[in-house]
């Protein structure tokens, strides 16, 4: 029988529906592995064997009664710990929410339950998803299965390390400036940020509401497409949720054909500032696409130069407002100073102890950006940059069907290397941020190992808003070009975690 934990979700779903393996057997295999190896990777903040197996058993019972409720019926999944779950604590990687068990499920979690997909556990993240390495998690960093001394990317490094380490066949992430795609690139996995509004944000602990989007983290493109089909769609609980569905992503993957494809290479994100090995992998992807028959054009997006700056005004501004709810009144930590403190003193003491350094930095920065006298110059200008970026992209998409960039400027760096340099950390997301500012879909697909360090590199594919199918179609083309060369996915080459 196939090795369960290294199989794709699509294969596992096939084993379950053809009754060659049960959901309980498959879920057990992943639980066995994660219980043994999570101490090495710190991918999960919480898991509960009994609860996961009860869900798997229900999925098997439905099958025994002849009911298959979704194409991923019975396939287990890991969920980032900033999505609310009524049967598991939800911390968002913060001490301020330690031990909090929410009273409602996020819409995405409800959809996973309705699809009979057992939840394996909650994955680690930078506190409130602020970071690109998981080093800002209050519960310690996750480790990259390719090299345990390196970061798995962030904020969704728990999900990416779980996928690369085969501690889950599928995972859910959230992406505000690259938190799905950057970790995917760092670990050789696939991570997709759908169009803003394609997946409901209800029950996602908000970081920056105009940028946040939930999406799949997987070990191949088809699995990601299958998962987006399960979690996507309109939700009346989220007023920014798109009113109409975007069609079947799986169908788009099946229709993948390079014929007539026009690929745009963004001038501003294809030369300077990338590690040579990452740049070489990117050039190789473009050469492969050209050789396969795609037309390659260079597109100019001059406003991208200001994307990171605009992002680090808009994000802290929205975050400082969103995180005001952690006030020690309705849930979470309360720290009461000695004496006869007012509620204001209690709030300040609670937030002092409950928040980590990056969260404090961004709240204070956001408060500054929104304060009178600076609002127009900073926040106002940043919103105008957002318009310019949308205009650049609209023009670029008249010249090309999709745009390609390297996902990240470097491969995975060492734990501790950038943690004391906020600006260096912010620049990790230089290629991923424009998609969030513009609301368009983007996916990272592995495109090789950088020659200088042997670590994974990713290529990012951007498509126009609502054209998630186009994004998956091209992602599948790129993936196939590499599968033809490698004979297996990049993730199959991850070192044996048990031996590390």
């Amino acid at each position: 029988m196939t090795d369960i934990t290294s199989s794709s979700a699509a294969i596992l779903a096939g084993l379950i529906s053809s009754k060659k393996a049960s959901s309980v057997e498959i879920t057990t295999a992943f639980l066995d592995r994660l219980e043994k190896l999570n101490p090495k990777t710190n991918s999960y903040l919480y898991f509960n064997r009994e609860n996961s197996l009860a869900q798997a058993k229900r999925a098997d019972q439905q099958l025994a009664e002849g009911k298959t409720v979704s194409p991923l019926h019975g396939v287990p999944i890991a969920v980032k710990d900033n999505l609310t779950t009524t049967d598991a604590p939800t911390t968002a990687g913060s001490k301020i929410l330690e031990g909090w068990v929410p009273q409602y499920d996020a819409t995405v979690v409800r959809k996973l339950r309705e699809a009979s997909m057992p939840i394996l556990g909650k994955t680690n993240l930078d506190e409130f998803a602020m970071g690109s390495s998981t080093e800002f998690s209050a519960y310690g960093p996750s480790k990259n299965p390719w090299d345990l001394s390196r970061i798995p990317g962030g904020s969704g490094g728990g999900s990416s390390s779980a996928i690369a380490g085969h501690l889950a066949p599928l995972a859910i992430g959230s992406d505000t400036g690259g938190s799905i795609r950057f970790p995917a690139a760092m670990t050789g996995s696939v991570g997709a940020k759908p169009t803003y509004g394609a997946v409901s944000r209800y029950g996602l602990i908000a970081l920056a509401s105009s940028l946040d989007q939930i999406g799949p983290v997987t070990n191949n493109v088809m699995d990601a497409a299958m998962l987006q089909d399960v979690i996507g769609g309109h939700d009346p609980h989220d007023s920014t949720s798109l009113p109409n569905g975007l069609g079947s992503m799986v169908q788009s993957v099946k229709e993948a054909d390079v014929k007539g494809l026009k690929v745009g290479v963004v001038k501003q994100l294809s030369s300077d500032g990338f590690q040579p090995g990452v740049k070489a992998c990117f050039d190789d992807t473009i050469e492969k696409l050209a050789a396969a028959g795609a037309e390659i054009v260079e597109v100019d997006c001059p406003s991208f130069e200001y994307a990171v700056a605009a992002y680090y005004l808009i994000l802290p501004a929205e975050a400082s407002s969103n995180l005001a709810k952690f006030d020690s009144v309705r849930f979470g930590l309360r720290v009461t100073p000695d004496g006869n403190p007012t509620i204001e003193n209690v709030m300040a003491a609670t937030r002092e102890q409950g928040f980590g350094p990056e969260v404090k930095r961004r709240i204070i920065l956001g408060t500054y950006a929104l304060s009178s006298g600076y609002y127009d110059a900073y926040y106002g200008s940043a919103q105008k940059v957002r318009t310019l970026i949308q205009q650049d992209l609209a023009k670029a998409f008249t010249q090309a069907d999709v745009l390609l960039t390297p996902t990240a400027p470097t491969t995975a760096f060492k734990i501790g290397e950038k943690v004391n340099d906020p600006l260096a950390m912010y620049l990790n997301d230089i290629a991923t941020i424009p998609a969030n500012l513009a609301g368009i879909p983007g996916i990272s697909v592995p495109n090789g190992l950088a020659s200088e360090d042997g670590l994974p590199s990713g290529v990012q594919i951007l498509a126009p808003a609502m054209q998630d199918g186009q994004m998956y179609r091209v992602a599948s083309i790129v993936e196939k070009l590499y599968m033809d060369q490698w004979g297996a996915s990049l993730i199959a080459r991850v070192p044996d975690l048990e031996a590390l």
Partner: protein, 98 residues
């Protein structure tokens, strides 16, 4: 160099309801100064006639049907509160006594 002084950091932290030590104030003033200098480049990128975008996908007047749906009970809403009494959230005094 930006105008992020230790006093400004103290003021912003107070507006943000975050207690900060003197050492944190010094460190934050330095870090935020560097960040603000960097993000301030946005002011050079735009002119007056560019419209602002607050939301990536334009939407307006999003309503749902006006029907009553189940919601949290009072007990559920209070269940995570650090303190409660008589079916309400309990907090310290809002005003100073003196």
């Amino acid at each position: 160099m930006s105008e992020i002084t230790p006093d400004l950091v103290r003021h912003l932290a107070s507006l943000s309801r975050i207690l900060v030590t003197d050492q944190e104030v010094e460190q934050l003033a330095g870090e935020l100064g560097i960040i603000v200098d960097s993000v301030a480049t946005v002011t050079k990128a735009v002119s007056g006639d560019v419209a602002a975008t607050s939301h990536p996908i334009p939407m307006a007047n999003v309503y749902r049907e006006d029907v009553i749906l189940p919601s949290l009970t009072q007990l559920q809403a209070l269940s995570s509160a650090p303190d409660s009494a008589d079916g309400r959230f309990k907090v310290n005094a809002i005003l100073d006594e003196d």
